[in-house]
């Protein structure tokens, strides 16, 4: 067999294979962990907002060294480049190789840290133990203070997950498919209930790590940057309502920091059961916008997805605008009187704009020019707001309101 005979490989060859295998994971965040730095020894710092050190031509940032420990895998998930039945080239890093790569990249300011994932080799516990060893070496042998994101394997033992959480800033398990039925079909070795139970266990651990014992001693830290997950969009028949419903359950149930949406994209040596479609990038973009509405704008899934009977989002206009057009009876909103909740629902107003409006209102009534200075996108907001020197008149209820936003062709070609 080719892939066995061709080993061992050089570091560069392994890196090429194991970075290629890791690129379908969208997460690259390095923000929101505990503040720490190397002034008292070691190397590295973290905390505050993350840093994107480079961008590839797919528009995605590189913040972390995102690699697989190995792309050998005993599972057979149809959507995955690394499934056991794929003919892709295989490689495996030793823990020491991952540690050296991480530190040397870090010292040259290429990365914020490591995002380590892996195919399942031998057993879930064996694989998780190797990944935990890498994190332990970095933290304990090398005093590494940078960011570590570990992918956890749901079936691994609690002791290993506990140690992973002590070393890592973030833990994640990918749910991958929005419906249990699809998981059972396309990832027969994975169990949706085991994945959810693993997320629940991480939530419980994090809760416990924030409590103090009766002696006042803080509990050991556990994944201070929280947990996240990823859903593939477009591999199964789930509509946007299914996807957002699942996301909303994950946020409320397990206090996830992020749900990433990844447009299903062609992989080398694809499985015959999945279509090699063009990745639905516009759909992915709309889902992220909807996700933001769920988390920061007080919308619920039903409101966002009820505009269309298909349960899918409008691809031509953003979900907040689509909601506003479908609920025009609630507009126009008086910018100088409306509460925060309603201001957040105005298309063209982001959370920062709303905060500025609320603080500017204390110095007197806002006029059109004030809103422009504050940074509101007034071209979008115009039909939905009133203020002393502006009233949309019949504009709010005009028949072709939606067309006003879709007419410009450059709005359509998002990508």
């Amino acid at each position: 067999m080719f892939y066995f005979c061709s080993m061992p490989r050089t570091i560069s060859e392994k890196l090429a294979i194991l970075a290629d295998a890791a690129k379908y994971d969208a997460s690259c965040a390095s923000s929101g962990t505990t503040r720490r730095d190397a002034r008292n020894g070691g190397i590295g710092s973290a905390g505050g907002s993350g840093i994107c050190h480079a961008y590839t031509p797919d528009g995605r940032c590189i913040s972390l060294l995102k690699i697989l420990m190995t792309n050998f895998c005993i599972y057979d998930c149809a959507y995955c480049i690394n499934r056991v039945s794929s003919g892709v080239e295989r490689a495996r890093f030793s823990p020491e190789e991952v540690v050296t790569l991480t530190l040397e990249f870090y010292r040259r300011n290429y990365i914020e840290g490591l995002f380590l994932s892996s195919g399942i080799i031998r057993s879930p516990d064996d694989t998780m133990a190797d990944m935990v060893r890498i994190a332990r070496l970095l933290r304990e042998e090398h005093g590494f203070k940078g960011y570590i994101h570990l992918k956890t394997i749901p079936e691994a033992s609690q002791e290993l997950i506990d140690e992973a959480g002590r070393h890592a800033d973030r833990l994640s398990v990918n749910i991958e498919l929005p419906r249990d039925e699809s998981t059972r079909l396309f990832a027969p070795q994975k169990k949706p209930e085991t994945i959810r139970a693993a997320m629940a266990a991480v939530r419980l651990k994090r809760q416990a790590s924030r409590e103090r014992s009766h002696t006042g001693k803080p509990a050991p830290r556990f994944a201070p940057a929280g947990q996240s997950t990823q859903m593939i969009v477009g591999a199964d028949a789930a509509n946007d309502r299914d996807i957002l419903t699942t996301a909303s359950r994950l946020y409320t149930g397990y206090r996830l920091k992020r749900v990433y949406y990844s447009a299903f994209s062609p992989i080398p040596d694809a499985s015959a059961v999945l279509p090699l479609i063009k990745p639905p990038l516009a759909r992915e973009h709309r889902l992220y916008q909807a996700d933001w509405l769920l988390r920061f704008y007080g919308f619920d899934v039903e409101e966002i997805t009820s505009a269309r009977p298909s349960g899918d989002l409008d691809l031509e206009i953003d979900p907040k605008l689509a909601w506003a057009i479908a609920n025009r009876a609630q507009f126009p909103v008086d910018v100088n009187r409306a509460g925060r909740g309603m201001l957040l629902r105005v298309p063209g107003f982001g959370t920062r704009t709303v905060d500025r409006i609320l603080s500017a209102r204390r110095s007197g009534a806002l006029r059109y020019a004030d809103l422009l200075r504050i940074g509101a996108r007034m071209n979008t907001a115009k039909p939905f707001v009133t203020m002393p020197d502006w009233s949309p008149g019949a504009l709010t209820d005009t028949d072709n309101l939606r067309a006003r936003y879709t007419a410009a062709p450059e709005q359509l070609s998002l990508f």
Binding site: A38, D58, D180, L204, D370
Partner: protein, 484 residues
């Protein structure tokens, strides 16, 4: 007319001292010309007053923070705008609090540009390793690795951007050279120096590995050049080694995607069958009806009799003593139980266990009529929803199994859902509470309140309900040990 020349390095201190001096003499903003880069004095100007004037000068922390940042902006207007802001602040403390004010907006714009430039510096500085220096004679410390970088920021941010590198790269020595000046970090000490010509940095083997990573983490199927250019503007490319690979990556992208689409699925490698067969053996088929409690628990974990499993985390199976005389049946797991995977650990159970401590209770099997949590996400919470008839009926299969294995002398039904599951009678609870009914399987069932009902009740009502629940608990404990 006063004229103040600001140096390339240390300009904040010069600005602060001059501004304080001028403002203490109540000099109006239009009386001052601020010079950047120490340009020779072209116009006649009044020398700065020698001593502080009579006026008291105050500034908020926020204003100083703003000045430190906005002054890094290369725009010539920055020092004057800041002086205007400080001048206004002396008269009106709230002048700068309005985000819609033109001066505040101008300063915010400067600050934003500087903040972005600092952020991009932190992101895009690329170090190369320098050869070892000959260690000093008698120096006891181990040799430190040395790195160097050349970078061209848009603004005068060298001093503002350097502390980040000092905190992060504390165990190595490094130099960051920019057109504005040079920052050096040696043995834990930062120093700034006047600009020097661009250094000639030696090749670094790790840079090639970085290029390999950059080229392979890229997904050719989802080109999005606009996003890349807006976050990594072209002006930075000349100092970013990886960007030299981009043209080649773009050239190949379409061909790689086409090749992926055109390729026919290959035959799975021979080892795939072997591995999957071995994995399959651990999931051996289970008998239709579990033989004991452990087998039932295992089978229930994968239950899909109704749709609740899709949203809930896990099946929450009963717990306790399988030879107990008393079985307590609740409605369904709540938020806490669903996360923990164990029954009766949430707030309602705390009410019940307090009562149980009062009455004293022997061995018991605790379970729920429905084994999955039914809820509706609302904001950050999961709101409990009562299970419907069909969900209760589907789940009864499991409850009946539990009853068959435990064979309780007495069953306490907490609330209407449990009462319906056990007796088949959907009638309201009010008239039935405290009475022993006959279960579907013939065993006695004492119907009582669900403890969460007590949590919601207030005043004398709550006291009465609590007393009733305690009585029912005591009755059920007594009856559980009596032979029927």
């Amino acid at each position: 007319m006063y004229r103040v020349a600001l140096p390339q390095l240390g300009f904040f201190e010069t600005w602060r001292d001059s501004a304080r001096r001028l403002l203490s003499h109540e000099v109006a903003p239009d009386q001052i010309v601020w010079d950047r880069g120490g340009v020779a004095d072209l116009f006649a100007s009044t020398p700065l007053p020698e001593a502080e004037g009579p006026a008291k000068v105050t500034a908020t922390k926020e204003l100083i923070r703003m000045a430190k940042s906005a002054l890094c902006h290369t725009g010539p207007e920055a020092p004057a705008l800041l002086y205007r802001a400080l001048h206004r602040h002396q008269r009106d403390q709230r002048a700068l609090a309005n985000p819609a004010d033109p001066l505040t907006r101008d300063l915010a714009r400067l600050q934003k540009a500087v903040g972005r430039d600092i952020h991009k510096t932190h992101a895009f500085v690329r170090f190369r390793e320098l050869p070892d220096e000959v260690p000093d004679e008698g120096a006891g410390d181990p040799p430190r690795r040395r790195f160097g970088a050349w970078f061209e920021p848009d603004h005068l941010i060298l001093e503002a951007a350097t502390p980040f590198f000092a905190r992060r790269f504390a165990d190595m020595d490094w130099t960051i050279a920019t057109p504005q000046g040079v920052a050096r970090f040696e043995r834990g000490v930062v120093s700034f120096h006047p600009p020097a010509p661009r250094p000639d940095l030696p090749d670094d083997a790790s840079e090639a590995l970085w290029g390999t990573y950059f080229a392979n983490i890229f997904n050719p199927a989802r080109l999005h050049l606009r996003a890349m250019r807006s976050e990594m503007p072209l002006k930075y490319w000349k100092n970013l080694p990886e960007t030299r690979l981009i043209p080649g990556m773009l050239e190949d992208a379409q061909a790689r995607v086409d090749a992926m689409r055109a390729a026919m699925p290959t035959e799975p490698p021979a080892r795939a069958r072997r591995i999957l067969d071995r994995l399959g053996q651990t999931d051996a088929p289970q008998p239709d009806v579990p033989a004991d409690m452990d087998a039932a628990k295992l089978a229930a974990a994968a239950c899909r009799r109704c749709n609740l499993c899709e949203a809930a985390t896990q099946t929450v199976w009963g717990e306790g003593d399988t030879s107990a005389g008393l079985m307590i049946v609740g409605e369904q797991p709540g938020d806490t139980e669903d996360i923990a995977g164990r029954p009766f650990v949430g707030p309602a159970w705390q009410v019940l266990s307090a009562l149980m401590a009062e009455t004293g209770i022997g061995p018991v099997w605790k379970t729920n009529a429905v084994k999955h949590f039914k809820f509706q996400p609302r904001g950050k919470r999961r709101l409990h929803q009562s299970p419907d008839r069909s969900e209760i009926d589907h789940c009864r299969w499991w409850l009946d199994l539990e009853r068959r294995f435990v064979k309780p002398q007495m069953t306490l039904a907490l609330g209407a859902t449990a009462a319906y599951a056990l007796t088949g009678n959907p009638a309201p609870l009010g008239a039935r509470r405290g009475k022993v009914e006959t279960g579907r399987d013939g065993g006695p069932v004492l119907v009582t309140w669900h403890p969460s009902y007590l949590l919601r009740a207030k005043g004398p009502d709550a006291m009465r309900l609590r007393a009733q629940l305690r009585d029912d608990l005591a009755t059920s404990v007594r009856m559980a040990v009596l032979p029927q």
